[in-house]
Amino acid sequence: MAMLHIVNKSPFEKVSFRSCLNHVSKGDSVLMIEDAAVGALEGTSFSDKLKTAMGDVSVYVLGGDLAARGLSEDRMIDGIKSVDYAGFVDLTVENETTQSWL
């Protein structure tokens, strides 16, 4: 069963994002919302960790949360897809289960 992992904390502030990536299964999806959106950027101290994980999982970011923090989508790591809340719902439907990394 594929799982949607929802992360909402900055990878620079809390360990939850890393913990999530340490516990995903191949074929799962990871969605960054709220403060976690800042993790989508290329060229950060976290981006290599995320790019490695992207070999196994699909990664998404809630576009509204990225924009709120002044970050434009063209600075994202290649392969990350931006979604809106409708897309968030779609991801929940497409994956059989969800886990929030609080």
Partner: protein
């Protein structure tokens, strides 16, 4: 009612925030619904089940004994992250001795704590149908 695989994920230390206590309250209620319940203790969540907790100095109630009652409620799958213990300088010896009694085996006491590494924990998480985090 249907039976589903429920997992309660505990990532936070007790007492510093209320999540550990109120998570445990949900776990106890879940027992009444006869679901297939697992608990995961990862990251600072492992501090929830350390032995010898003493809250005299902080003015909060020590609720660690409640974990010992989980076996009586047929909640007997407590997955603990090996890596999380190691990073924190802890071993399984630092955890409470949590057990359940197997009625099919003359009520023998059996361990509830299942030590797993990250890939094993990931496999357990992948099997769940409802995952609640606190």
């Amino acid at each position: 009612m249907a039976t589903k695989k429920f997992m309660f994920v505990n990532r936070k230390a007790p007492y510093g925030t209320v999540y550990a206590l109120e998570s445990l309250e949900v776990v106890l209620i879940s027992a009444a619904f006869e679901q297939d319940v697992s608990l995961a203790f990862i990251d600072d969540g492992v501090y929830q089940i350390t032995k010898g907790q003493n809250t005299d100095g902080i003015g909060q109630k020590n609720f660690s004994n409640t974990y010992k009652a989980l076996g009586d409620y047929e909640i007997k799958k407590l997955y603990v992250s090996k890596e999380s213990l190691e990073e924190r300088g802890l071993t399984q010896d630092d955890l409470m001795d949590l057990v359940w009694e197997d009625e099919d085996d003359d009520w023998a006491e059996k361990p509830s704590i299942i030590m797993v590494d990250r890939s094993e924990m990931a496999a357990v998480m992948a099997e769940q149908e409802v995952t609640l985090s606190f």
